[in-house]
Structure formats: structure tokens, C-alpha cells
């Protein structure tokens, strides 16, 4: 029961923390909750479907189907986050004004809102797949009663969701009228971290084999195994010893996420 609790808590926390940031970043945009929820449902269904056919998919691409799939899903999420930062830019003034008067909702066209669905679906799919595979394994081999398992799973899920909700409310409360700027930077860092992860999956699949030498080691300062290290990893892609490929993906994505929106006409 506790093991299920811990693992489900960890995986769901990755989703809920990022969802908290995205929900805070889009605060005030009319109807965005619907699109985010759709993403959650699509991601969850996709995770269950792929879990069922995982043996087949994982064997593709010379046995590196997993790596290719993970890299693709991450890069899709990265490009969607950058697009979101771009299409939200013209609404900065309206959204900031709304913070003082929360009765008004800012209307946005439907097509850009689909980016939120795709980002959410990507996140939920990636972590959800691990949860689905793990849960199925536990359910078929454990000797514990179903009710204890459910309590463990629901407990982990609930705690992670609560933390995600607190991140959402906390981000809004602490940022004040700078909410848009703060969440834009946070999303840019999240995207950069995801891009670096994608770089590792591309290297793991053998598609890229250079620039793999680690450049430095900061585990003495913050270890990736520590709680703070894991938090920094989820929020901004912190790794102890990045290699040149990760650094390149990270810096390029961060630059694009910060610079491209400034070219959008307000």
C-alpha cells in the first residue's frame, strides 16, 4: 500500500506541479479549464491504450521505440509551450488588468487554446504511462487486498493533486501583478528542461552519439536524489552533470521561449 502511495505520488506530482504552473499562467483566459481538462482525459486514455500495447511499441525502432516516443512527446510539449507563450503575448495587458478586476474574462480564439490541451495531454501521457504499467504489475502480482491498494493509490494521487493546486494558488498569490511575467519565465524553464530530457532520449536511442561527455558535476551542491534536487529537476530541468548536448537543447529552448514571443505584435 505504501509503495503504491509513494510511486503514484511521485509520478502524479510531476504532472500536477506543471499543470499548476500552466493553470496559473492562463489565469483569466475564458474557457481554458475545458481545454486543460480535455488534455488530462486524452493523456490518460492514451497512457492506458499504449500501456496495453506497450510490448509491441517498445520493440519498434530496433528496440528503441520507448526512447523515440518519449523524445517525440517531450518535443511536442516543448513546441506547444513556446507557441502558448507566443499567442498569449498580445493579451498581456488585458490579463494583467484583469488581476485587479477578476470578474472579467479575457476571450481568446479557440485554435490557440488547443495548445493547452496538447501540453496537458503530453504531460499526463508520459507520466500516466509509467503509472499504468506499474499499477498493472502491482495489481496482478500483489498479495494485498484491493481496498488497501486503492487507498494507497488514491492517497498518493490526492496528495499530489493538492500540492499541484497549492502551486497554482501560490503562484498567483505571490506574483501579484507580475503573474504573467513570472509564469512566462517558469514555463520557459520547464520547456528548457523538457528539451534537455528529449536530448537524452535521442542520445539513448543512438540517433545522436556525440557531445555526451559531462561538463561539470554539481552533486556536491545539490544532488538529483535529494528532495530539492528533484523539485528543481521538475521545475527547471536541473541535472547534476549536464553534457554539451543537454546544455545546447536547454539554452536554445530557453532562448526561443523568451525571445520568440517578443516578436509577436501586440
Amino acid at each position: 500500500m505504501f509503495k503504491l502511495f509513494v510511486i503514484i505520488f511521485r509520478e502524479i506530482l510531476e504532472i500536477s506541479a506543471l499543470l499548476g504552473i500552466i493553470t496559473a499562467a492562463t489565469e483569466g483566459i475564458a474557457g481554458r479549464a475545458k481545454y486543460i481538462w480535455s488534455g488530462v482525459i486524452i493523456g490518460a486514455k492514451g497512457a492506458i491504450a499504449v500501456a496495453l500495447i506497450s510490448r509491441y511499441i517498445f520493440g519498434l525502432y530496433g528496440g528503441y521505440g520507448q526512447e523515440i516516443m518519449n523524445a517525440a512527446v517531450l518535443l511536442i510539449a516543448v513546441s506547444m509551450i513556446i507557441w502558448t507563450l507566443m499567442w498569449m503575448r498580445p493579451y498581456t495587458q488585458k490579463l494583467t488588468a484583469r488581476i485587479k478586476d477578476c470578474t472579467r474574462q479575457v476571450k481568446v480564439k479557440a485554435l490557440p487554446l488547443t495548445s493547452l490541451t496538447i501540453i496537458t495531454a503530453s504531460l499526463v501521457f508520459r507520466e500516466g504511462l509509467e503509472v499504468a504499467l506499474f499499477s498493472y504489475g502491482i495489481a496482478t502480482t500483489t498479495t494485498e487486498s484491493l481496498s488497501r491498494l486503492l487507498i494507497g493509490a488514491l492517497g498518493g494521487f490526492s496528495l499530489a493533486s493538492v500540492i499541484g493546486f497549492l502551486i497554482y494558488k501560490g503562484a498567483i498569490k505571490l506574483s501579484g501583478r507580475h503573474l504573467f511575467q513570472v509564469t512566462s519565465i517558469m514555463l520557459a524553464l520547464v520547456a528548457a528542461g523538457m528539451a534537455a530530457e528529449a536530448a537524452n532520449f535521442l542520445a539513448a536511442s543512438g540517433l545522436i552519439s556525440s557531445y555526451q561527455q559531462p561538463l561539470w558535476d554539481s552533486s556536491w551542491l545539490i544532488s538529483q536524489n535529494s528532495a530539492i534536487g528533484e523539485i528543481l529537476h521538475v521545475l527547471m530541468g536541473y541535472v547534476e552533470s549536464p553534457n554539451a548536448l543537454e546544455l545546447f537543447f536547454y539554452v536554445t529552448t530557453l532562448a526561443l521561449a523568451i525571445i520568440l514571443p517578443r516578436f509577436v505584435k501586440c
Binding site: 517498445f58 530496433g62 518519449n70 509509467e130 504489475g137 542520445a203 539513448a204
Partner: protein, 122 residues
């Protein structure tokens, strides 16, 4: 100028040729590790056997992880930068290297209490 049927066909063929070339390049890239030495690690009762593997530095390496359990496991290592699900009663191959000398920890994320191992590179 209206596009003639012929030029559309030519564009289609060019595009197809480009896509096929890209696929060939991608497939070739996957065989970079063709000469690498393979080390086998089994997962039994949520433990890695052997849990310490020594490999040479500066060379391409493959780890074949065979899951003898009926539960799925996730082979993961922060320092090796690898994360891969090993299906129950299945196996995966993890490409590594060239690695600098040192000790690299790896673990099974779904059974971290018992699934711990080290890759010693020297």
C-alpha cells in the same frame, strides 16, 4: 502559372525520395553501436543480478536487462542519463558510452528498496 500534372508527380517523387533517404539515415544511425560489448543484468525478485558490473572506460557498451519477474520494472540512472521500462518477462538493451571512469548508480524505479546497482567504469 497553373501547376501541371507532371510537375505535381515530380514533386511527389522528390518528396518520397527525401523521406526514404531520411528513414535510411535514421536506420543507419541506430546501428552505430554494432560493435559494442554486451553485459547482461537480470532482474529477479526485484533485484539486479549482478548488481555491480565493471566495464572499460572510453568504449561503447550495451547493457541487456532481462526481467525474469512478472512485474514491470523501470531501469533508471541519473548519472548515466537513461530511463527505460523493462517489460515483465522481457528484455531491453541500453546503449552507453564512451564513459569516463567512475561509479554510476542505477536503480529500478518501481522497486527502489531492493533494485539498486552500480556500473563501475575503469
Amino acid at each position: 502559372m497553373p501547376i501541371s500534372k507532371n510537375s505535381v508527380k515530380n514533386l511527389d517523387i522528390m518528396l518520397l525520395h527525401r523521406i526514404l533517404s531520411l528513414i535510411c539515415i535514421l536506420c543507419a544511425a541506430l546501428y552505430v553501436h554494432a560493435g559494442a560489448k554486451r553485459y547482461i543484468i537480470e532482474i529477479k525478485d526485484h533485484k539486479f543480478i549482478p548488481h555491480i558490473v565493471t566495464v572499460p572506460a572510453g568504449e561503447l557498451i550495451e547493457l541487456e536487462i532481462k526481467n525474469m519477474d512478472s512485474t514491470v520494472e523501470e531501469f533508471e540512472s541519473h548519472t548515466l542519463k537513461r530511463e527505460k521500462i523493462v517489460p515483465s518477462r522481457g528484455s531491453i538493451i541500453v546503449k552507453l558510452g564512451p564513459l569516463k571512469p567512475g561509479v554510476y548508480d542505477f536503480f529500478g524505479e518501481f522497486h527502489m528498496e531492493t533494485a539498486q546497482g552500480q556500473l563501475i567504469v575503469r
